[in-house]
């Protein structure tokens, strides 16, 4: 295939060669994880489809030597929210290289099946950037069904959903795929494999995967961003300092041109539910919420307002949709945003939500894996309580950082 090259930047083929070099060198394999960060320079000025080719190739490289624990969050992220057949297929294949199957993987695989089964297509893993122009023997759905078969009895929790695939109306699956479904069902029911030790109890998916937290004294201060200026959904200007200091805040990122319904649109819909939960608990005046766009050049106030209102978001002085008018780079640095751009357009981003303390510092982050509304509110309450306790004690706690799980994406 030809190469999509941006002037001065390394070509896609150069990235593919680097990936192969890193995968072949046991001492450098960990560097592959760095290449999965959305803000990596390799993704700058690439199309979304080029980024799919690049990330898919990295996932396939990881699959060749066994998926490390630190890469698991990237694979589960793709299964959870990916809609590109090639990338989802590569993620499914990578998951099968994990040292041990775990029951916690099954819902992710099932979700991916639901997400891509109407957009399935043959995929080719033969060479970098290869697109299937014939039946290659595999596809996103086939890779996912093979992954369910690999999980075997550990996928018992989703057995009824897998069985239901056989009876779906509307010829959803071809004869070949129906055979794959039968194979997955047989593997899940396989009593002989049920006794095989799994990762479920020791090193499966933590409930906190994708979540990080920082104790009060270890949080990065917000001085670098305090002067950043935003414009809200009503066209009013407000600085970071004015809006985010003096109370805890919940912050999500999005952009209105995002075409993945499982990312930005869902994030804003869930923010509306978070606001309702805050109101139910009488916290809506004490915790501010903000949805900040990655695409400030296009997401003008009217667009922000309509996007929020269409998704039920409460909009007032304490709850705003924001775009930066000055300070986008400072914002990217402060939050370590997992986003990249082609010209002014977002070309790839992760799901990310943050809880800021009363000084505008990041106290919690929820990245890649879809967050739960209740969990977010509970964490916001924790952050508020920490502030209250600290104020009461008049003495800061000892400053060490703990992160609930790996933060490879940051």
């Amino acid at each position: 295939m030809g190469d999509s090259t941006t002037a001065g930047a390394p070509s896609e083929q150069q990235l593919a060669a680097l990936v192969d070099t890193l995968a072949a060198d046991p001492d450098r394999r960990h560097e592959l994880m760095d290449l999965l960060r959305e803000d990596h320079a390799f993704y700058d000025q690439r199309s979304t489809t080029a980024i799919s080719r690049m990330r898919g190739w990295i996932l396939l490289a990881l699959a060749r030597f066994g998926l490390p624990e630190t890469a698991l969050v990237f694979v589960l992220e793709e299964l959870s929210t990916g809609v590109d057949a090639y990338l989802v297929a590569a993620a499914a294949r990578a998951l099968r290289s994990h040292p041990a199957p775990a029951a916690a993987f099954a819902p992710f695989v099932m979700r991916a099946l639901t997400n891509v089964r109407n957009r399935d297509e043959p995929v080719s893993f033969d060479s970098y950037g290869d697109y299937a122009a014939r039946d290659t023997g595999t596809s996103a759905v086939r890779e996912l069904l093979a992954t369910l078969a690999w999980l075997g009895p550990h996928a018992a929790g989703v057995l009824s959903e897998v069985e239901a695939l056989r009876t779906l109306r509307g010829g959803l699956f071809s004869r070949t795929l129906r055979l794959d479904v039968d194979r997955a069902v047989a593997a899940i029911r396989d009593a002989d494999r049920a006794s095989v030790p799994a990762a479920d109890s020791c090193c499966g998916v933590s409930d906190n995967i994708g979540t990080s937290s920082w104790v009060r004294d270890s949080r990065r201060d917000s001085r670098s961003i305090e002067q950043a200026v935003f414009e809200d959904h009503a066209g009013a200007a407000v600085s970071f300092q004015e809006f985010f200091r003096g109370h805890a805040s919940i912050v999500v990122f999005f952009y209105t041109r995002c075409d993945n319904p499982l990312k930005c649109s869902l994030t804003i819909t869930k923010l509306a539910r978070v606001q309702k939960l805050l109101a139910t608990r009488g916290l809506d005046d004490r915790v501010h919420t903000a949805a900040i766009t990655y695409d400030p050049g296009f997401d003008l106030p009217e667009r922000l307002r309509r996007y929020g209102q269409d998704r039920g978001v409460r909009l007032d002085a304490g709850h705003r949709m924001l775009r930066t008018t000055d300070g986008l780079e400072a914002l990217r640095r402060h939050f370590n945003l997992g986003v990249n751009f082609i010209e002014s357009l977002v070309n790839r981003h992760r799901i990310e939500a943050y809880i800021l303390d009363a000084e505008g510092r990041v106290a919690r982050s929820f990245e890649r894996i879809a967050w739960d509304e209740q969990q977010l509110v509970d964490h916001a309450v924790q952050v508020m309580n920490e502030e209250r306790d600290a104020t009461a004690a008049h003495a800061p706690k000892s400053g060490c950082c703990h992160r609930a799980v790996s933060s490879a994406g940051r």
Binding site: R117, D120, P122, A132, L172, R257, L300, L345
Partner: protein
């Protein structure tokens, strides 16, 4: 009597009209895919192919016609249209989709330009990475182009996340033809960074009406306040083109800052004058504007 005769005739006419609809999928597929049948009959069978049923065998048979270069092109194009219709109306399609996409990718190299263009259109609407790559390659190297540049730009514009802005900008600077330039500008209309270029084009009286209208729409999308400023100046300029003034009036009527516009007496007077002495298009737009502002 007349009523009776009519009543007697109606069922026969209805039966005739309904005949194709009662053809089974099997019969329709057999007729549509048989090279022994005449082209007209095959086209009719393809156009009226029922989309019921959950077996995708008929879709595969129709696809075999599309990919067969020895079939008449009219039949192949009709077969492609039938599959495209099936993509959103047939319950059997999801199981077939993968093979369909793979076949379409092969068909991008078909010798027939119309079929190639339609196939690329279908793939581009799916935001297919393969099609985007081919279209970009063709724009960078005309020897590899599968479709004319203006068409390639149009197809790339289906995905705002395609890597098309740099090449579109290059085409605006050095267009192979005016249509390609126009399509490149349409594509750039969603790029906030292109606003200064669109400001210049909007104010350039030597540009065509279409280019200036594209520029106005682009500014409305990314810099509505800037458009409002230019719209005011264009309306106050007696040497401006009628169509552009009508466009500006519409923009101010629909999207203008109501408070600022209502308080602009110079603008109001000018538009009242336009309501009396201008082309019918401008008069109509002026009337709508003044109605909104209670004049």
């Amino acid at each position: 009597m007349a009523t009776k005769r009519k009543a007697a005739k109606r069922p026969a006419a209805a039966r005739k009209a309904k005949r194709p609809a009662t053809r089974s999928i099997r019969q329709a597929t057999s007729l549509a895919t048989s090279s022994r049948q005449d082209v007209a009959s095959r086209l009719s069978a393809l156009a009226e192919m029922p989309m019921t049923g959950e077996d995708d065998a008929h879709l595969r048979a129709v696809l075999a016609v599309v990919v067969n270069t020895s079939e008449p092109i009219a039949v192949r194009l009709a077969a492609l249209q039938t599959l495209q219709t099936a993509s959103f109306s047939s319950a059997a399609f999801p199981a077939f989709r993968g093979d369909y996409i793979a076949a379409l990718r092969t068909l991008t190299q078909d010798p027939d330009p119309e079929l190639r263009q339609r196939v690329l259109g279908f793939l581009a609407r799916e935001k297919d990475g393969f099609a985007q790559k081919k279209l970009l390659e063709g724009l960078r190297d005309p020897a590899k182009a599968l479709v004319p540049p203006e068409k390639a730009l149009q197809l790339l514009s289906y995905d705002v996340h395609a890597e098309a802005y740099p090449i579109a900008r290059a085409i605006v600077s050095k267009p192979p033809n005016p249509t390609a330039r126009r399509e490149a500008l349409r594509l750039l209309a969603a790029d906030a960074k292109a606003a200064p270029m669109f400001e210049r084009l909007l104010r350039d009286k030597d540009e065509t009406r279409e280019i200036r209208q594209i520029s106005a729409a682009a500014l409305q999308a990314t810099k509505p306040d800037t458009l409002q400023k230019h719209a005011r100046e264009i309306l106050l300029d007696p040497s401006e083109q009628d169509e552009i003034q009508a466009t500006c009036l519409t923009a101010l009527t629909q999207f203008g800052n109501t408070e600022a516009v209502a308080g602009d007496t110079t603008l109001m007077k000018r538009i009242e004058r336009l309501r009396g002495k201008a082309s019918s298009n401008v008069k109509r737009s002026a009337r709508q504007f003044l109605t909104k502002y209670g004049r």
